[in-house]
Symmetry: C2
Subunit: 111 residues, 2 copies
């Protein structure tokens, strides 16, 4: 289940327009028009990107009257961050271990 969510979160983040929308929403909630304003595309195109962001759970939106307001769901962002940072840390630990091994196995006159 987590795996499938990560698939969709990373796929959602692979588009620059969607990353721009996420970036805007980290500053606080925004209406769809506010999200669309800086983007070089039509409102329907923005709505499609919003749907991808909502489907993967990165963003939630609510309609009040004619205005749809969007906000970020930080939990999904944290999940993606956790996956990447754990992999990076694992790599660094293994690199340290390799360094220690190379130090130990070095001939004495080279230490």
């Amino acid at each position: 289940m987590l795996n499938y969510q990560l698939d969709r979160t990373f796929a959602a983040l692979s588009d620059p327009a969607r990353r721009a929308m996420v970036e805007r929403l980290t500053e606080g909630p925004a209406t769809v028009s506010e999200l669309a304003k800086p983007l070089p595309m039509s409102l329907p195109a923005v709505m499609l990107h919003l749907k991808v962001l909502e489907d993967c759970g990165l963003v939630k939106s609510e309609k009040a009257g004619r205005v749809r307001t969007c906000r970020i769901e930080p939990q999904r962002l944290s999940q993606a961050e956790k996956w990447v940072s754990e992999r990076r840390q694992m790599w660094e630990r293994n690199l340290d271990r390799l360094g220690a091994y190379l130090d130990e196995t070095k001939p004495e006159d080279e230490r």
Copy 2:
């Protein structure tokens, strides 16, 4: 340029087989056969996934004789991590600021 690299890195990470390959490579270099072993797919399918990982710069491989050895390129992983963690931190800062604002604007008898 960084934007385009992030597109490809996140797209590469949106597939569970490719994430499994990255995960394996954080433990150290591996041959293509070693990468393929735990995956429920053919060797040509693994080679295609490897190509995606190499194209976005997450993985490098070298052929010595008949054996192709792959290793992780930690820089790309760090870039993706940085993007996500900066967005999460920005969101938290803005949440703190909102909290402080709400505290300040609270009627005195509710403080």
